[in-house]
Amino acid sequence: MIYRLLKVELYKIFSRPRSYIGFVAIAILVFIFQLALFVDGKTYLIFLIQQLETNFSISGNILNGYLITYVILQTLIVQMPLMVALVTGDLLSGEASAGTMRLLATKPISRANIITAKFIAGSFYTLLLVLWLGGLALGFGLWIFKTGDLMVLSTDHISIIPAAECLWRFFAACVVAFISLSVVTTFSLMLSAFSDNSIVPIVSTMAVIIIFTIIGTLDMPLFNNIKPLLFTTHMIVWQKLFQDPLSISTILKSIAIMLAYIVGFLSVTYYRFIKKDILS
């Protein structure tokens, strides 16, 4: 039965125009980025290196597909929560406002299974978005700009990742990014269970992410204590996969915290939805 329900949920997601907004937006943004870097890449690179204020001798193909992908991921990953929430924040509340929840909830399916199916379908959607972004960026990046060692600049040092290591790191980055976005998926799904219209959960999800991100960038003692508790702090952990030396334990710790959030948000969703009177 859950398999049936899951198929229906996926069908619902993919038969709505709004579900394609994210895919189209990503495709356009990736295209624009690659075009810009293709035309103006050298200038951009010089600008980047100037920021280092050190003397450097550059050898080999620095402006390669891996660098392009990294820059695209770093820039676009910020918009991903909106694209995810647009669909997942609507999963329960959208049915409530459309009135279809009334019918759905009278079918011989337990409320818990409704949540499970929606969670899996929402996660699948999120995964596709991440793969779409990663795939487009990397695919076109390598095709147009070829390969080379990846030079990553962080605040205090430079890491050079050999070309041969880039592929698995990008793959791991997509997995970690997927886990991060799953926090957004479950958070918006949870809000969705409390609302009878889809605007509130979508906007609230974005508001919370923006507030948390801003707190995360403020360097104040008051906030420094709570930063490790904010899920947004851990959502950029995929970048740590491109640092030398690789700090596996930091990455795993962040993943554990994010998984805890996912479980927490899901539990609240189940609890709320199972007890809820369906009045819409």
Partner: protein, 303 residues
């Protein structure tokens, strides 16, 4: 015979407000059971409890002889319903909606069966159109189709005729009778219009403000033993004087030269005869059954 539905003193409160108050009833197999009440009486709330959409604040519900709380899925497989407005996935076609909901009911219906049902509710030719493009009446028809698609034993229809044109109302009435007579289905039907219930139901309950007002066989509740007779005459006062105490105990009121009596049908000829003898001009004679009169008063409070 064991009832298909058994409500035992169910109540539902929203905050301090009691929407349904200790309602008990039984619905038997093969019957059409009418749920009559003015706006806000608690019809939809009761139906939502039967459908496990909301939990009763107190009381118990048995369907097909089983506790609803512990046998929910098993019970729901055998129920088809429309509750409040008929809402569908607007971005899908009617056909796709039906397919999807039947799947969720645990059955895979064939394309032929879907066609058959679409034809039955009079939507043939429009089944490929998105529900977005449907009128309210068409959605209501699709709603009926959706209740039947998985061939359930029990059908719950919450005001299924709202928004339908006269032909649509007749179609639904005939469909209900066919479901009951030819297919032996059990049907619960709610309405705020007495005649709509009377034409199809065997038993009914009247509720007001969440409480039961009357319950029983429709023919008994609406018998012609208990009528309110209105006679419009030239001058009411003189008419009463000239009647000289005839049926005095049955007289109830005089308003705008209209005399009202509570009596049974076979008393009408005698009274009219007596009035004729007085020579008073009679402009009109109408009667309503007592319960009808009572229900009209109930609904008038809201209009």
């Amino acid at each position: 015979m064991e009832p298909v539905i058994e409500l035992n003193k169910i109540s539902k409160s929203f905050g301090a407000f009691k929407a349904v108050d200790e309602l008990s009833l039984e619905v038997y197999k093969g019957n059409v059971f009418g749920f009559l009440g003015p706006n806000g009486a608690g019809k939809s709330t009761t139906m939502r409890m039967i459908l496990s959409l909301i939990k009763p604040s107190s009381g118990s519900i048995k369907i097909f002889g089983k506790e609803l709380t512990s046998h929910r899925n098993e019970i729901m497989r055998q129920i088809g319903c429309i509750i409040e407005k008929p809402d569908f996935y607007l971005y899908m076609s009617a056909e796709k909606n039906l397919q999807l909901f039947s799947k969720l009911s645990g059955v895979d219906v064939s394309k032929n069966k879907i066609q058959e049902i679409i034809e039955l509710v009079g939507l043939k030719g429009r089944e490929k159109d998105k529900v977005k493009t449907y009128s309210h009446g068409m959605k209501q028809r699709l709603g009926i189709a959706q209740t039947l698609i998985h061939n359930p034993e029990l059908i719950i229809l919450d005001e299924p005729t709202t928004g339908l044109d006269p032909q649509g109302i007749i179609d639904i009435r005939e469909m209900i009778l066919r479901l009951k007579n030819d297919m032996g289905k059990t049907i619960i039907l709610s309405s705020h219009i007495l005649s709509e219930i009377e034409l199809v139901a065997n038993r009914m309950v009247i509720i007001n403000k969440g409480k039961q007002v009357a319950q029983g066989e429709v023919t008994e509740l609406l018998s012609t033993q208990d009528l309110i007779l209105s006679i419009e005459v030239e001058d009411g006062k003189i008419a009463i004087e000239k009647l000289n105490g005839y049926k005095k105990e049955k007289f109830s009121s005089l308003e705008n030269n209209t005399l009202k009596f509570s009596l049974s049908k076979n008393e009408i000829p005698g009274l009219v005869n007596e009035l004729n003898k007085t020579g008073i001009k009679i402009y009109g004679i109408t009667y309503r059954r007592a319960l009808e009169e009572y229900f009209l008063k109930l609904t008038h409070q809201y209009n």
